[in-house]
């Protein structure tokens, strides 16, 4: 089946089987490999992207459900000249990543978190990051990064 959507600002048509997950369309059809698969039970959040501006686990959504949607992946977050989004910059500044595997989903969740809760405090950020697992950082620097990223996003 043909699914039309806008991915990172570009209109695309994906020829996908009905059971193709959105994450498969992104990684395998569109070769946007920044979105990762870390589990098979929608627990880890490594595959988080934005669909119509909201963070979504792309392993938990069929490609067909993204018909006419606007999808943003990690590849679409930085500026066209390569300058990082304030949240990406904050993750680097605060050492909010180690192996990098959960990072892309974590950043996409963090951007959505700050859009919806621009004044979230440390405890609230920790709760709001519940859907994303990280095995490397111990979360402390991720939480710091989200706080700094929130400031950057308001600037």
């Amino acid at each position: 089946m043909q699914v039309q959507m806008k991915v990172n600002g570009k209109a695309v048509t994906v020829n996908a089987a009905p059971n193709t997950l959105l994450v498969q369309a992104l990684r395998e059809h569109l070769h946007l490999t920044g979105t990762h698969v870390g589990c098979d039970t929608a627990q880890c959040g490594a595959c988080t992207v934005h669909v119509n501006g909201r963070a979504v686990k792309s392993c938990n959504m069929l490609t067909a459900q993204a018909q006419d949607a606007e999808v943003t992946t990690i590849e679409g977050l930085a500026h066209a000249d390569g300058t990082m989004h304030p949240m990406q910059a904050a993750f680097k500044e605060c050492h909010g990543l180690q192996c990098g595997f959960c990072t892309t989903g974590m950043v996409m969740s963090a951007v959505d978190l700050c859009n919806r809760h621009p004044h979230a405090n440390e405890g609230e950020i920790r709760e709001l990051l519940e859907g994303n697992l990280c095995r490397c950082t111990g979360y402390q620097n991720i939480v710091k990064a989200v706080q700094l990223g929130a400031v950057g996003m308001k600037a």
Partner: protein, 790 residues
């Protein structure tokens, strides 16, 4: 250059932001699953649904006829191809003098399966979906046998292997048993403890993945694999399993999404893909899904121990004796046998001057996934046991947890322990004092009263850990049974313009080597960090390597680079001497400049580099052109990071919910090159250690051997809201045996934290009469313990 000079160089001790972050943050990382080769096929493994069974028959006919299927390979095919089983890298000699029992570890089951998830067949098809569908059509008839699951049931259980009829792999001991018994006979007090170190699943966020590829044109194999030590992987794969010449096999471990030990080993899948890539002449990718990872990644811990500590009337330790039953799982994974012996028992002196220690270990086969090194590997098990029994002794003698530790601390270095290791340096009192200060221990009683007023139980727990890192001096490791050397290799390639590419056998899978190693090289050569790039993870580009585990990268891999840099400096000085018409011995090198002693003559590093490659004015009669040096470094001793951790928990007795309210970690890692990265390593280690103490728990059904915690839905992974902000502190006694003074920081958090948490839990629960408790402190288990004590 020595450690004290090194630590004063520019950029050493600076929290430079990481060079690798841009690609990870923008989705440009290159993990193995991001690699797609031409006409790639996909592999799926048919796995055993039974913990223990004989295979009566495998019928592949229906599956072979399914759409897209290219081949289905099984145990008999492996036998025909004369492919050996997976080797164990560490031979333990039994106390009887006989070698450990070492049954075959076939890459595909040969007539028998020994754990749920054991490899029965590999299906290769054009698409992943076709491979998955065909795998379900492979008909395997099993004759189910009784399973042995818990290590305490191994003795006398149904035998897994003909080579080990009683499921016993080895009995091993260290220490002076008679001296320990004598000390116990004269002890004023003996503290006894039985404990279980719970089984864990490492769960790096990137599951294992591999691509096998073969070129008929060059007769060369390439294995892309998510792995921590590509050269070791290649060595095991070629020399031990497949009988291939090493130069025909290239192993590439590109960006790797975490390892924690689980990606050290050569796994059956890696061999199957390599073998089949030639047999089928196709590129083949295998992606381990998370459920599969739970079944077949090597697990960690799983010890059952009894310990006794003899003390005098003042709480001075006289002797420690320990017996441990270690679960090795169904087969011997690469490092498995070293974990409960060399990496465990040798650490049981801890930070204490206990004169006598005796440790005996029995290692057993069970119908569970192989158990091997997981972050800390043996040292967490040692620390957990020792720090638990020390706190129990304090409680029995009415002493405080800090006082009993402090009065037994080793204060003179070097210190020879009664269990083989020699600690080079440390300052255990400084760590303890700083931790108490940072953790505001003085305010604990007020906080406890405040908790009490809310109906909550508050407890405090201490843990003073020491670990042995930088694994290992090859001669020592060899004497202890290692079947490989444990040096590291590094190449420093100075380019004509003075920029540098470094090739290191260490592998970064989150540790930030691309930054830390660049800092080391840039500092040493006095050039900008931007001018140094680090290459790792590719046997085709890096000369050799032993890889990353045991917190060894900076202390062994970094030291190898220092050796290569010594050679670079020595040669560059000769070139500089020639250019400035001076004697070699009159040349100084500092801040990126060569100068002639006692003159104002100087030239920059870049000019020397250019001269090396454009040798128009060059001592060609004495010196080769070029500036490119390789060094192998074999460590002189282990390194000994140590520290004191203090945990405060608050427990709701009505629900059993246990919250870590405060956690203080003071570590001595020797020289710190990048404090930001080091603190990140501690944070991550703490969460894995506290995760073990509070929630992580791998459970098999004790009768059937079915894995009950087989996904993130049942195995509790630590999440952001499970932790407070950690308070970290550092003490620095530089390591005396390597040129950097570093000790390693990757595992400390996971080693030191579990006993701090459980000691705090027991301190809190002492108010309601709970005297003993095994990890994890999940609400149900804590609540049950409270009810049982009533």
């Amino acid at each position: 250059m020595g450690a004290s000079d090194f630590s004063k160089l520019p950029h050493i001790g600076e929290s430079l932001r990481r060079k690798e972050d841009y690609r990870f943050l923008t989705g440009a990382g290159n993990y193995t699953d991001d690699i797609n080769l031409a006409n790639m096929t996909h592999a799926v493994f048919v796995r055993s649904p039974h913990a223990h069974a004989n295979i009566k028959s495998i019928n592949k006919a229906t599956a072979l006829a399914a759409p897209g299927v290219i081949a289905i390979l099984d145990g008999p095919d492996v036998v025909d191809a004369k492919i050996n089983g997976l080797p164990c890298g560490w031979l333990i000699t039994d106390t009887s003098g006989q070698p450990m029992k070492e049954p075959p570890h076939p890459i595909l089951a040969n007539g028998k399966v020994r754990y749920v998830g054991d490899h029965v067949a590999m299906v290769v098809a054009e698409t992943l979906e076709q491979a998955l569908n065909a795998a379900e059509m492979v008909e395997v008839e099993y004759d189910v046998l009784t399973a042995v699951v818990d290590v305490r049931d191994a003795k006398g259980g149904t035998a897994l292997h003909a080579e080990a009829p009683d499921n016993h792999c080895y009995n091993w001991a260290i220490g002076d048993k008679a001296a320990v018994e004598a000390a116990f006979a004269g002890a004023a007090h003996v503290t006894k403890l039985d404990l279980i170190n719970n089984r864990l699943v490492p769960n790096p966020m990137e599951p294992r993945v591999a691509i096998g590829s073969y070129s008929r044109a060059s007769d060369e194999y390439t294995l892309y694999v998510s792995n921590q030590n590509p050269h070791v992987e290649r060595l095991l794969l070629t020399a031990f399993v497949m009988g291939l010449p090493e130069h025909k096999v290239r192993v590439i471990a590109p960006d790797v999404g975490g390892g924690f030990g689980a990606k050290i080993y050569l796994y059956a899948e890696d061999v199957c893909l390599t073998w089949a890539s030639k047999k089928l002449n196709r590129n083949i990718k295998w992606n381990c899904d998370r459920s599969e990872a739970f079944l077949c990644d090597a697990h960690g811990r799983d010890h059952s121990s009894h310990a006794e500590l003899a003390l005098d009337k003042d709480g001075k330790f006289l002797a420690l004796k320990v017996h441990t039953d270690a679960n090795l799982g169904a087969y011997l994974s690469t490092f498995s046998t070293a974990v409960p012996t060399i990496l465990y028992a040798t650490l049981l002196a801890g930070q204490y001057s206990t004169p006598q220690v005796y440790v005996e270990v029995d290692a057993w086969f069970t119908n569970t996934a192989p158990v091997d090194a997981y972050r800390g590997a043996g040292r967490p098990e040692a620390t957990y046991l020792l720090e638990r029994i020390v706190s129990r002794a304090a409680s029995e003698l009415g002493m405080s947890q800090d006082a009993i530790r402090s009065q037994n601390f080793i204060t003179q270095f070097p210190y020879q322990t009664p269990v083989a290791l020699q600690y080079d340096t440390g300052d255990f009192h400084a760590c303890m004092d700083q931790a108490k200060e940072l953790g505001n221990v003085a305010g604990f009683s007020d906080r406890k009263a405040a908790s009490q007023a809310k109906g909550l139980l508050r407890g405090i727990g201490y843990s003073s850990y020491i670990e042995a890192c930088g694994i290992a001096p090859s001669n020592v490791a060899g004497a202890l049974g290692a079947r490989a050397g444990l040096f590291e290799c590094g190449e420093v390639r100075v380019h004509p313009t003075g920029s540098v590419t470094v090739f290191t056998g260490s592998h970064s899978h989150g540790q930030g080597h691309e930054t830390t190693f660049a800092q080391v090289v840039a500092a040493r050569l006095g050039i900008p960090v931007e001018n140094v790039d680090i290459v790792h993870g590719d046997t085709g580009r890096v000369p050799f390597g032993m890889g990353t585990y045991g917190s060894r990268s900076i202390s062994v891999g970094g030291a190898a680079l220092m050796r290569a840099l010594d050679k670079i400096e020595a040669k560059a000085k000769k070139i500089a001497a020639h250019l400035m018409e001076a004697s070699d011995t009159d040349i100084d090198f500092a801040n990126g400049e060569f100068s002639v002693k006692g003159t104002d003559k100087k030239i920059p590093f870049g000019q020397v580099a250019l001269t090396a490659y454009v040798p128009h004015n060059y001592p060609l009669d004495k010196l080769e052109p070029g500036l490119n040096e390789t060094a192998f470094y074999d460590p002189l001793n282990f390194t000994f990071p140590a520290g004191t951790y203090i945990c405060e928990v608050e427990i709701d007795p009505l629900t059993g919910v246990t919250r870590v309210d405060k956690f203080t970690a003071v570590d001595d890692f020797g020289t710190i090159i990048n404090p930001m990265i080091v603190e990140g390593q501690v944070h991550g280690g703490l969460v894995q250690g506290i995760g073990q103490a509070l929630m992580e728990h791998c459970v098999y059904d004790r009768e059937t051997g079915q894995l009950l915690t087989g996904s993130f839905m049942d195995y509790t992974m630590p999440r952001a809201d499970d932790f407070p902000v950690f308070a970290l502190g550092h003490v620095c006694t530089p390591c005396t045996t390597n040129p950097l003074g570093t000790k390693g920081c990757g595992e400390a958090g996971a080693i030191g934290s579990p006993p701090a948490v459980i000691n705090a839990v027991l301190d809190a629960l002492s108010a309601v009469g709970v005297k003993d408790f095994d990890m994890p402190a999940s609400p149900h288990r804590v609540w049950s313990a409270i009810q049982s004590a009533k």
